[in-house]
Symmetry: C2
Subunit: 274 residues, 2 copies
């Protein structure tokens, strides 16, 4: 999806240090590239590759990195998993299946909160991902303090490597930033005040009275309440209130009824009811 703005400052500097992403024996350069892209989406930058058979910094990885070349360029390569983990204070191992190890298991959200807490306390966390087909070996998992697994449909649990990294990055970014949407509803117009909304009610209800909308007088009160509730649920801005006044006026204009009725709408409700 579109929306990248390279003029915007990378958020990473203002966030707690993100987890190092450690790939153990990735087989395909495409996947290393896609992992780099997923990391960049969520402001992660430190990639470590252990015994990458893939040309992890080759052309194919770069194509799949889709612009996240800074991640590929800064990636560090190791022969031993232990060396790739050496400076980390919290290592999490991702696994798709229960692997019979007596290790606490976190869903990605809980793992992400743990990673943020570790960084806030001055430590450094890493999340380890295994081979595309077979995942991490048991001895590799035993190097980690905890296991992370993904809540997926058990009948179709084949998350690919970049998708697994994407979910970890996404949850980390949520935990690090508070998880608010990237933008809020634009508010070009101030919210309408109670008095302005009351005046709108008066306008609408007056025109409906004139048009014979409330045929059963004993139902009028509850129908009015329903209409008022509908408008309240809309949480109208001042501009919305003006638009609704205009719509009601346009609909009622020229209709048979008390002359000039359409012009009372700027008065607050209490004036009209008096």
């Amino acid at each position: 999806m579109a929306g990248t703005d390279h003029s915007k400052t990378d958020l990473a500097a203002s966030l707690p240090k993100g987890p190092v992403i450690i790939l153990v024996e990735p087989q395909l350069a495409e996947n290393v590239g896609s992992v780099a892209r997923a990391m960049a989406n969520f402001a992660l930058s430190e990639l470590r590759v252990v015994r990458g058979r893939a040309q992890a910094d080759g052309e194919k990885a770069r194509v799949f990195a889709a612009g996240a070349h800074h991640v590929i360029d800064a990636a560090r390569h190791f022969d031993r998993v232990e060396d790739a983990l050496a400076d980390l204070t919290l290592v999490l191992a991702t696994t798709a299946r229960e692997r019979g190890q007596a290790k606490p298991v976190d869903a990605p959200q809980a793992a992400a909160e743990r990673v943020v807490a570790e960084a806030t306390a001055g430590g450094r966390a890493g999340v380890m991902f295994g081979r595309e087909r077979t995942g991490l070996e048991n001895d590799e998992i035993s190097l980690a303090a905890r296991v992370v697994t993904f809540p997926v449909n058990p009948a179709y649990a084949s998350l690919n490597l970049a998708q697994a990294v994407l979910l970890v990055g996404y949850e980390w970014f949520k935990a690090a930033t508070g998880g608010a949407p990237a933008f809020e509803m634009p508010t070009k117009s101030p919210a309408a005040t109670h008095e302005q909304i009351s005046a709108l009610f008066a306008h609408i209800e007056g025109e409906l009275d004139d048009g014979g909308f409330f045929r059963a007088p004993d139902k009028r009160a509850s129908m009015v309440r329903n209409i008022r509730n509908m408008i309240h649920r809309m949480e109208p801005s001042l501009q919305d209130v003006r638009t609704l006044h205009g719509m009601v006026a346009a609909l009622s204009d020229g209709r048979p009824g008390p002359e000039g009725r359409g012009r009372t709408y700027l008065k607050p409700l209490k004036d009209v009811e008096e």
Copy 2:
């Protein structure tokens, strides 16, 4: 990542109805395939494609669907967005950027909770995704009740189509299933009782006393507390307690010290302290 078990029943039947995924003018068959795969990962099955230029059910889509052919086969194709949305009671539009429309904005987690609530109340929700490069058009967004956007690094916000669907599917699955990890730490052995842990403390502390570990008598109490806390943080099972007894015995066995000391370890702490 590995872990698919096709013998397991698809969870979908036991969950509230998942959101329909609506793709508007997807350009690449690969992306439709990857979307199908991401949907299957999270037990979503209903895909609708509006004016797909891609051969959305062709060979390429199937390769990228990685086995999620049931989603491709059941996909419905439409010429008009309105027709693809006709039976839905809640439509959410995904956008990467603020699009100037006065519509409430949800992050994926809040959107997912809304979709689950809608299904629980008997309605049916759908999430609409736009073209790979340009997203949804403003008139298409105006058909939706709400907007969904993704918390991403603003300097690198290019989530691809399948990744965006993956995040929506993931959050929906979390909301629909409670978000627990796919498995918990295996508990092959019952948790140790307080008495069993106290006996372990007695064994360890006795051997450490004999070995001259507590050189400063005034520090003994706080050192003992630290050791006990380390073991409590381990949350040891009964098997772990036995393993630790064995380790202490193996370490202290044959070491100079009061004869037979290593054999007291089955007694609870209070016996030893008397």
